[in-house]
Amino acid sequence: MSLPDSEIPAAKQLLEAALLSSPEPVTVAELRRLFEPELSADAVRRLLEELQQEWQPRAIEIVQVASGWRFQTRPVFQEKIARMNPEKPPRYSRAVMETLAIIAYRQPVTRGDIEEIRGVAVASTVLRTLEARGWIEVLGHREVPGRPALYGTTATLLDDLNLRSLQELPPLMLLTDDITHPETA
């Protein structure tokens, strides 16, 4: 179901209000239900793209992330907004960020796998920090003695990093093939 031209402004207003008032990204499927009768997914997507254009010159923008569409502030304005509120976001230690990188690029992995790659023990607090932030979760257990938990990253991580899928993660540094098969001296 598509819209007659006369109803487009009202439809955009409604979409805008829905995105602005949702605490989490909203999917196209959810947005379709705003309308009676329901709009087609394509029609909703077209309206979203038009809205995206209209908001272009402003301080907040419409973006598409892993769990749907949302409004967010443009980074250039965020610095100024931060002046208002001296509260600083936490900065994570290298241990936390390296653990996150291993889980993101090598998932699903167990704690043992992470320790193998980093060459040191992984403190429980590191994994708990990432879990509390909602960035990693237990996907299952590896069926070996001890049934260690298998960790993977969540849609929240992608949302928080402005990504639509794991494929959008920056690629790992490229390595030449002969690393695993070094030439014999």
Partner: protein, 275 residues
């Protein structure tokens, strides 16, 4: 990433340690580490692989053709220095030392004439693979850290909606409550001026129970708080809760004369002691 400074989160302009009051800026140029700075210095490495990578990059060595003798010598100097100060830290580093020495000795041995199955395999291969994998992850971590992040480089927009219009009430789980608390804590840690001590929850729980009881009964004789059959740990927690309530001016303890019973009441009530 070749720059040693990238290994540290400390900007080079700032001293990473003070030794006898003198600022100690950046990483040491040679292998001599003042013992007082060693602890700070080691904290900047994430483990033996990280230290090896640092040595390789600092000396512009080829990671695909590591001169084992030199690398092992330098590594051992660090580990020796480390063992003086932080013995408990050294275990993972000692394992790596053993691996390095094993590789070195295998490279010194003449190859057997009869070719075994693994002939041609460089003894350094496994170490190189691990170093490269770790270096990749290290770089990926730095890249992830640099990505714009919600709450840091940008904020998610959420406009206020009247909750009364929502017929359905939000559901909350204990786990979500814990997460909210963790968020509070991590932010409080950033705002250094807020000191939040870890405290036994049970004391807080008992404080609430006493307040609730006092609100209903107006005053309570002190010993009645400790009913029969109460275990010693519970009584102690209860007693601490009373002391804490008094300290925080939430309740009042009074006595009409020496050796008379103690009475507890809410601080807000002007209590008439029973005669």
């Amino acid at each position: 990433m070749n720059d040693a400074a990238d290994l540290l989160e400390v900007p080079l302009a700032q001293p990473i340690a003070r030794v006898r009051g003198e600022p100690f800026i950046g990483l040491p140029q040679d292998l001599y580490i003042p013992p007082e700075a060693l602890e700070v210095f080691l904290d900047s490495f994430e483990g033996p692989l990280d230290l090896l990578l640092y040595l390789i990059r600092k000396n512009s060595l080829d990671i695909l053709d590591i001169p084992m003798a030199e690398l092992t010598r330098q590594y051992m100097e660090y580990v020796d220095a480390m063992r003086h100060g932080r013995l408990e830290l050294a275990a993972e580093y000692l394992v790596m030392a053993a691996v390095l020495i094993e590789i070195k000795s295998r490279m010194l041995l003449p190859r057997p004439v009869a070719a075994p199955a693994d002939e041609g395999l460089d003894p350094r291969a496994e170490l190189m693979r691990r170093l490269l994998e770790y270096e990749r992850i290290k770089q990926a971590a730095a890249t992830l850290e640099a990505l714009p992040r919600a709450g840091r480089e940008f904020a998610v927009v959420q406009v206020w909606m009247d909750e009364n219009l929502n017929q359905r009430l939000p559901q909350v789980t204990a786990h979500e409550l814990q997460e909210a608390w963790a968020q509070v804590l991590s932010r409080a840690r950033v705002n250094q001026h807020h000191r939040i001590s870890r405290e036994q929850l049970s004391v807080r729980d008992h404080m609430t129970r006493i307040l609730r009881r006092l609100r209903e009964q107006h005053f309570v004789v002190f010993h009645e708080l400790f009913e029969e059959g109460v275990t010693v740990p519970v009584a102690v927690v209860h007693f601490i809760a009373v002391l804490e309530l008094v300290k925080e001016s939430m309740i009042r303890v009074s006595q009409s004369e020496a050796y008379a019973p103690l009475y507890l009441s809410l601080a807000e009530n002007t209590m008439e002691l029973p005669s």
